[in-house]
């Protein structure tokens, strides 16, 4: 633990500012600069966590397929600031996402909403999985009825022996 840990304690905002002021003052008076704990860009870590969570669900509209959380673009910075403000106003995640959709349309959501046009998208994989497994079981049952233990032809027997001889050497 560094001696600077107490500065990062969010509970004691007042002393934090005091300390910052003290450091600034000392910076102004004495050179070279003294180390201090860097200020987070966000005032509150809980807010920042929520911001990252919300922003990862959103598309940066001016970038090439990048989330709002990752983007360094101007618009992304502005939108993140706006979301931060909305969090500060006590709005819920749902409300913030709804606000973004009302402004930019569904395109802004990386998790498409469930509606008539996205039913296939959301249920497609489940249907494929169940259908695939059902087809697999049906196929295996039918196959087992069809395959009779047919004796090998002479040619096949020769081939089998050749293969067995080769594999026998290494197994």
């Amino acid at each position: 633990m560094t001696p600077f840990v107490w500065w990062s304690s969010r509970a004691d905002r007042y002393s934090w500012w005091l300390a910052l002021f003290a450091v600034m003052a000392s910076l102004a008076v004495f050179a070279p600069a003294r180390a201090k704990e860097a200020a987070p860009l966000a005032a509150d870590e809980a807010v920042e966590k929520r911001l990252v969570a919300i922003a990862s669900e959103l598309r940066c509209l001016v970038c090439q397929n990048e989330s709002l959380a990752g983007s360094h673009a101007e618009l992304a910075n502005d939108l993140r600031r706006e979301i931060r403000t909305m969090i500060g106003q006590g709005r819920s995640d749902r409300e913030i996402l709804d606000f973004m959709v009302s402004r930019y349309g569904d395109f802004v959501l990386y998790r498409p909403p469930l509606k008539l046009t996205t039913i296939l998208l959301w249920f497609g994989p489940v249907v494929l999985l169940l259908g695939g497994l059902a087809a697999l079981v049906a196929y295996l049952r039918r196959r087992n009825r069809q395959v009779v233990a047919a004796p090998l032809s002479l040619e096949e027997q020769g081939e089998a022996e050749r293969l067995l001889n080769m594999e026998g050497e290494q197994q």
Binding site: A38, P40, L41, N65, P112, T118, L121, P125, N144
Partner: protein, 664 residues
């Protein structure tokens, strides 16, 4: 002069490809020995011609010949030599030439390493590859000629996209394309088998090493791309479910399924139709990926092309390739035998379940990738399908896959008993549950999803170890244990190594997504920030001149418990030719964690020597993600070096020849 020579070589190559695509195929059908014999020399000539064209384009780049349009668009006289060479595949036209170059190299390899195969079979395989090459060469010549002149020539080139000026991007595309294109060999083998009607175990045996080799390249290629995105794009992610990434991931998923189903077809003669269909699909998805990336229907990091003519050509090509293969399949498949009998619970059925899961996973990725395009095309609005969708659909499908990795190697061919399997595996399961379930506590916080992933990872490793011991014991025959260990076939070891690679990958993914910590801070000179037990001390930003860019280089001291470990240098580069600044993250790589620093923006734009917005990350186990991929690929290489392939290359030639005559 050189560009014209290259152009000429391409035209001649197209003619040779057509000849190679027609005569040997017809010859094999009619048993015309001379036409069959044409396949190998034609393949060599074709490869040589394409290599000449490729060499001409490379030379134009090296000499900064800005009278060639493509060179003027993608290079610059200030560009360092390695990047001038890599710039050959920095744009659409050159990427396609690289595609064809890789295809030619695979073709040459088939011609060289298939001495033990019947000539008619080789002729068919090379013929099919010739047709594919002809299609691509026509595409290049008609819509995307890299040798088009710019008259009068430009004084200076426009420069390579700065994102691509990176060592990772020098090797990533060739690797990826080797994998992509490699599935064309599996495809050619499948189509040849359909054409000849000899869809037998021998066919599976021959196409198996080629499929594995393509899969190894693709695995390396995808891992390299992911690693590049991690350190180059500057926001610390390693996979973005970007359509271009998906385009390479879908063939990988099907290729993985194919590797497994080929094993069954070779050993047991079952699933022949299914295997053929997978081989066709894997290559079709490679083509579809090329279409998606190259036609410009997507707008993403990699898609540079926007000419609709190209899109229509590839789409037509896609339809012809997939359509004709499926027609051929529908015609021939019903005549193929079913192979041996096996029970509902058997190694066959486990592998088939693996196939179903991988194919459904691949189809889901395809659905998510194409859905926005389709909705948009139908005029139903604009949608984004991003990581939250893919994560929630893909991850659940992988849980049974990971579980089955542990079970299937113990299941007997033909008939396995669930009771016996659970008896053999119960202790492995209990230990995996305990170790994997408790391990998240070491990270300081227990998270259910991390625990589930770790249980599965430990499960895979434990069962692989157990399976190895069981096998050694059963083949020991009185010899010492270690001696028996060394006797195990490499394909067996390769399988387990690849599976352990999957486990290592899962550990990396689970731990980094569960426990990574990041901080976005404002740093003045001398400021420190602590994340994940490491302290970063910001020493300011200075200016440094690169060959074709100006960089703002930060000095960030990395400390732990008061001791300076090293100084990291994150950069912000402005390239001479591009307005977009590039972020170069600085990473301290470690076995158990990466620490990652990237520069945001100066707080006051006018004062880059003042305070900066800096982002720091602590990413536990992130390198295990790529380490796992490397292990998977090494497993593939180990399997390829198996004794029977070396033996087959030397000894089997006369046998195969005789067998072929008997069949003819």
């Amino acid at each position: 002069m050189l560009p014209e020579l290259g152009q000429f070589a391409l035209i001649v190559a197209f003619c040779v490809a057509v000849v190679q695509g027609v005569l040997p195929l017809v010859g094999a059908h009619r048993r015309q020995l001379r036409w069959i014999a044409l396949a190998r020399p034609a393949a060599s000539a074709l490869t040589l011609l394409i290599a000449v064209a490729f060499g001409c384009l490379t030379a134009s780049f090296v000499q900064n010949d800005f009278s060639v349009l493509y060179v003027a668009q993608h290079s610059n006289s200030l560009l360092p030599l390695p990047y001038r060479v890599a710039a050959v595949w920095g744009g659409h036209e050159g990427s396609l030439l690289l595609w064809v170059m890789m295809l030619a190299l695979w073709m040459l390899a088939v011609a060289a390493f298939s001495r033990q195969l019947p000539d008619a079979m080789v002729a068919r395989v090379l013929g099919v590859l010739g047709l594919v090459t002809a299609g691509f060469l026509l595409f290049i010549l008609v819509t995307s000629n890299p040798f088009d002149r710019l008259l009068p020539g430009a004084e200076e080139g426009r420069d390579l996209n700065p994102l691509l000026q990176d060592p990772g991007l020098v090797i990533h595309p060739p690797m990826l394309y080797m994998g992509y294109v490699g599935f064309s060999v599996a495809y050619a083998f499948a189509v040849s088998a359909l054409l000849s009607g000899q869809l037998d175990a021998a066919w599976a045996r021959w196409s198996r090493p080629w499929t594995t080799a393509a899969w190894v390249f693709l695995t390396f290629g995808i891992a390299l791309g992911s690693w590049w995105a991690y350190y180059e794009l500057g926001w610390g992610g390693w996979w973005f479910w970007d359509p271009v990434e998906n385009a390479s991931f879908m063939p990988w998923l099907l290729g993985t399924a194919l590797v497994h189903s080929l094993a069954v077809t070779e050993k047991r003669g079952s699933f022949k139709n299914w295997t053929v269909l997978l081989a066709i699909s894997a290559f079709s998805l490679s083509l579809l990926g090329t279409f998606l990336v190259r036609s410009g229907v997507l707008t993403s990091v990699h898609a540079f092309a926007t000419d609709p003519r190209r899109g229509i050509f590839i789409l037509a090509f896609l339809v012809v390739v997939i359509g004709s293969s499926l027609v051929l399949f529908a015609w021939r498949a019903p005549k193929v035998g079913l192979g041996g009998r096996f029970g509902l619970v058997s190694r066959e059925s486990f592998l088939l379940t693996n196939n179903v899961l991988l194919v459904v996973a691949c189809a889901s990725v395809l659905l998510g990738t194409l859905y926005p395009l389709v909705i948009d095309a139908l005029g139903l609005g604009k949608l984004s399908v991003g990581p939250p969708y893919f994560d929630s659909v893909f991850a659940p499908l992988m849980i049974p896959v990971l579980f089955l990795i542990g079970v299937a190697p113990f299941a007997r061919w033909k008939n396995a008993s669930i009771a016996e399997l659970s008896r053999t595996l119960r202790w492995a399961f209990v230990s995996a549950a305990i170790v994997g379930g408790a391990a998240p506590l070491l990270m300081g916080e227990w998270k259910p999803l991390v625990a589930l992933s770790l249980v599965l990872a430990v499960w895979i490793v434990a069962t692989a170890g157990l399976n190895f011991v069981v096998r050694v014991q059963s083949t020991r025959a009185g010899r010492p244990f270690m001696a028996a260990c060394r006797q195990q076939p490499r394909s067996f070891l390769g399988m387990h190594l690849a599976h352990i690679g999957v486990a290592v990958f899962v550990v990396g993914v689970a731990l980094v997504s569960g426990y990574q910590a990041e901080k976005d801070v404002r740093m003045d000179i001398g400021d420190t920030v602590e994340v994940g037990g490491y302290t970063f001390r910001f020493g300011g930003v200075r200016t440094e001149e690169g060959p074709n860019y100006t960089a703002l280089v930060g000095d960030v001291e990395l400390q732990r418990s008061g001791r300076v470990l090293r100084v990291l240098h994150p950069e912000k580069r402005s390239y001479v030719s591009s307005a977009m600044p590039m972020t170069e993250a600085a990473i301290d790589t470690g076995f158990l964690r990466d620490v990652y620093v990237s520069l945001g923006e100066p707080i006051d734009r006018a004062r880059p020597d003042g305070p900066w917005a800096v982002r720091v990350y602590h990413k536990p186990f992130v390198d295990w993600i790529w380490g796992g991929c490397v292990l998977m690929a090494l497993g593939g290489i180990l399997a390829l070096s198996d004794r029977r392939y070396r033996l087959a290359a030397r000894a089997a030639a006369p046998v195969a020849g005789v067998a072929d005559q008997a069949k003819a």
